[in-house]
Subunit: 334 residues, 2 copies
Amino acid sequence: MTTTTQQITLAARPAGLPDDSTWSLETVELPELADGQFLVEVDHISLDPAMRGWLNDVRSYVPPVQIGEVMRAGATGTVVASRHREFAVGDHVTGTFGVTEYAVSDGAGVTHIDLDLAPAPTWLGALGMPGLTAYFGLMDIGELKDGDTVVISAAAGAVGSVAGQIAKARGCRVIGIAGGPEKTDWLRQIGFDEAIDYKSENVLKRLREVAPKGIDVYFDNVGGDILDAALANLRRGARIVICGAISQYNEETLPPGPSRYMSLLVFRARMQGFLVFDFLDRYPEGLEAIGEMIRSGRLVARETVASGGVAAFGEALLKLFRGENTGKLVLKVR
Amino acid sequence: MTTTTQQITLAARPAGLPDDSTWSLETVELPELADGQFLVEVDHISLDPAMRGWLNDVRSYVPPVQIGEVMRAGATGTVVASRHREFAVGDHVTGTFGVTEYAVSDGAGVTHIDLDLAPAPTWLGALGMPGLTAYFGLMDIGELKDGDTVVISAAAGAVGSVAGQIAKARGCRVIGIAGGPEKTDWLRQIGFDEAIDYKSENVLKRLREVAPKGIDVYFDNVGGDILDAALANLRRGARIVICGAISQYNEETLPPGPSRYMSLLVFRARMQGFLVFDFLDRYPEGLEAIGEMIRSGRLVARETVASGGVAAFGEALLKLFRGENTGKLVLKVR
């Protein structure tokens, strides 16, 4: 018995924003399961800012996706056939299955998920890589301390919204930066002390007002002018967590860096990058902490679910770069 | 008995490079010594890149020098009159006496120096703030480890030349970046493994050649393109020590920051600023370490001594920004 699946492969490397010519929708027959393999029916696919970087043919922390290769993506699904002893038919799982309706897996990097704790999309958001990124970024790279003033950019996004709620739960004063009143209203609802709308407010000036003693931890997901505004408002000993730079990922030339980086000297501050994968052996700790916050109602996990199946992947990815999502953006497969 | 002294005061805040209109040469009578004061006859005045920042009327780690105020400067000298119990006539001292021939001091921030260990100019260089800056920057901010590949910019300068020799003594591979063959030759003489001439070589490409496995510690004194070249050649877990940015101090508008700062994420690296003053209580440790290297011949302390007395201060300072000094630049007062 063979399985037919639709998949999205990389057709051409984009310059700037990906468009229709970037992707190819293919229908393929999956091979029969070998011993030690299982078949996953994918239900939700993760859309991540980092995907843009994987399309460039440059040396980075993971190899680029190759032309003709299925687009790399995290996903959730259900095991529908198995010749693997640890994964049985009916099991709910998450893994890097790619932009596909069905995937054959040998179990590498695949974990079970508990749909009683949270629905599948949350396992791609607060209980997935974004949540773990928020947790280790804040706790380990940001060295979060009680009472810190914490500023988070892209605060209504998958990582930012979890980071803000973790900081809040640890007794910090939390300021979120996001685009538009809908997002800033939501940030206030979920407990952020202040929310700055970068589309209508002067971020540098507003930060000075809402954090008059300066920022202890700045969790940066965007780069660009907002990073500079934070640099101008540091407190002595500040930690800047470099998690992403979504404002820059689609630039065709290297944009100017943070002009105010010499604030690091004036404020004896540091700026440090990280990747969640480096904390692999501590994922259980992170999931336990976030899971406990969800169970106790101290963390609101929100997802924006795009529809249209794998064929809609290209359009769904653009929503991310247009900032159309609140919380984690996922694509529903069927 | 009063003392007459020549001094340099700040006449006007410069835009860009300081010039003649920046400074005023004044002759003043110093007040008679009060109880607890002493009079210092200054012999050498320190010229520091940081001086440029003190001329701007902006919030920073020290207050700006005010118009009409004696220009702030570290200096060495001899006590020639005293009503202070810890400083006797004939004592050799160093302190922030300013650009002046004579200074009245109450002893705050003044320490004795040992001219048997090294001549006075060295107490403004390797045994002064520059040496301590090199020591704490490398050891504490750079977290120097045996076998690290260490890159130092402005490597033939007061801080860089000491930093390189400390790293070398700790068993590191040390690469210096400096301007011109005279400086790069000197760096090789004092033990640097490689020296790159940024005036005639492509620093980014040369770093890739001489540090093929990447940089563990980059000690930055210059900023600008050289910082970007280092960012492009990091090793995983790299530490960038932000000590200065001499290439940018005379810019009238904020220059673009390091475009390649997202290398911090790819390489899980950090960039951290510091000020030597934060290590005040550990100066004895730093001086002991550097002094021991001088005594045992493992550290070559070099100074460029400008002449002309305090009247030549303005011209001497420009030598620094033109890169005309090798090692520490000091002004001989008489």
